[in-house]
Symmetry: C2
Subunit: 228 residues, 2 copies
Amino acid sequence: MNKVMVLLSGGMDSTVLATKLLREGHRVQGLTIHYGQRHAREIDAAVRVAQALNIQQHTIWVPEGILANAESSQSGGAAVPEGSYDEESMKATVVPNRNMFLLSIAVARAIAEKCSLVAYAAHVGDHAIYPDCREEFVLAMARAVSLCDWNPPALVAPFTNRTKAEIVQIGIDADAPFEHTWTCYKGGLRHCGRCGTCVERLEAFDKAGYIDPVQYADYEFWRTAVKR
Amino acid sequence: MNKVMVLLSGGMDSTVLATKLLREGHRVQGLTIHYGQRHAREIDAAVRVAQALNIQQHTIWVPEGILANAESSQSGGAAVPEGSYDEESMKATVVPNRNMFLLSIAVARAIAEKCSLVAYAAHVGDHAIYPDCREEFVLAMARAVSLCDWNPPALVAPFTNRTKAEIVQIGIDADAPFEHTWTCYKGGLRHCGRCGTCVERLEAFDKAGYIDPVQYADYEFWRTAVKR
């Protein structure tokens, strides 16, 4: 049994990770970092996920201008691209060095709270677009984390080599509260079903053979958007 | 000639580093990150150093609570210890995972500004107290930085194996504006001369054979405080 700090974005991957660790018997707390995304919809989701799991959750608000990049649509610049996660359209969603920044805060907090693990849900499906979701980046960060303190936490990222469909299956097996998660890059009342992350999520549930419990404005767009 | 982002704290080490890189012909810009230290005296120093060097300088204000640790005197907790940098008294000045956090922001900004180098002035004199000033930490971070983006900057820390006295000598040779720097952990009008960083600085100038141009409230305390 470890005390674990999980980077809990409110999305599906980190929710599955927190649930899995909880079911394995660890003492889990969620850390949600708001760093200037377009909308606070994900923060609400993180709070609801933590309530559903009955775990501690803490939100840190990072003001605009610390990490934000004018070129990135996640921080208020360009428009959110629709369609599948092809490289060109989704590069606009890259926030430079986002994961090192988020991990640095999570590790600092883990040290202060005497957690022995920091867990985050980077996975292989992201790696073509996000350089800082690649396994080699995670391994380099794990080494740096192991040296950052005299009594450092260990960094674990068990989904690095999992597909999104496998993460859905792990979540189903662990009874993850998918219904409270938020994935869409747009800030509507329902998931749009058309942006890259909605398309990826719908495809993952379909591949895994389950129905996604969240509501979509457009359930069918993803079938035409995904390149086979 | 590289475009270089230097973490410019306003202290002596980063000022010498910025000066050295500038004299070597690089295009240098300074990044100063205020993360909840006791006083803003260092920020003023960074601005003045940048003016003296005629380089761009940008300050980022990180609100309390993102990195701060109640146990650390640098973020408003315990009292600042006096005397030399012996391990027990100075451990109170450790902010957990400070350097990973500062580097993550500097790297993000370097990517946005298309800098090819990020430079920081970690040095060996710190390593007994600060785990994240050790060379192995710097090397692990350099590897992580090299993987964090498709077009990452390189991380350089040329003072890792230099003593403070050697840094003084490098600064003298490069004509660093030592008179504008700020080192003291206390926020007075003059350097106190009694805290660990003042003692270390006075000792370094003495070893290098130069007179420190900043004003001290107590010039002689360090001689009694340093263990020979």
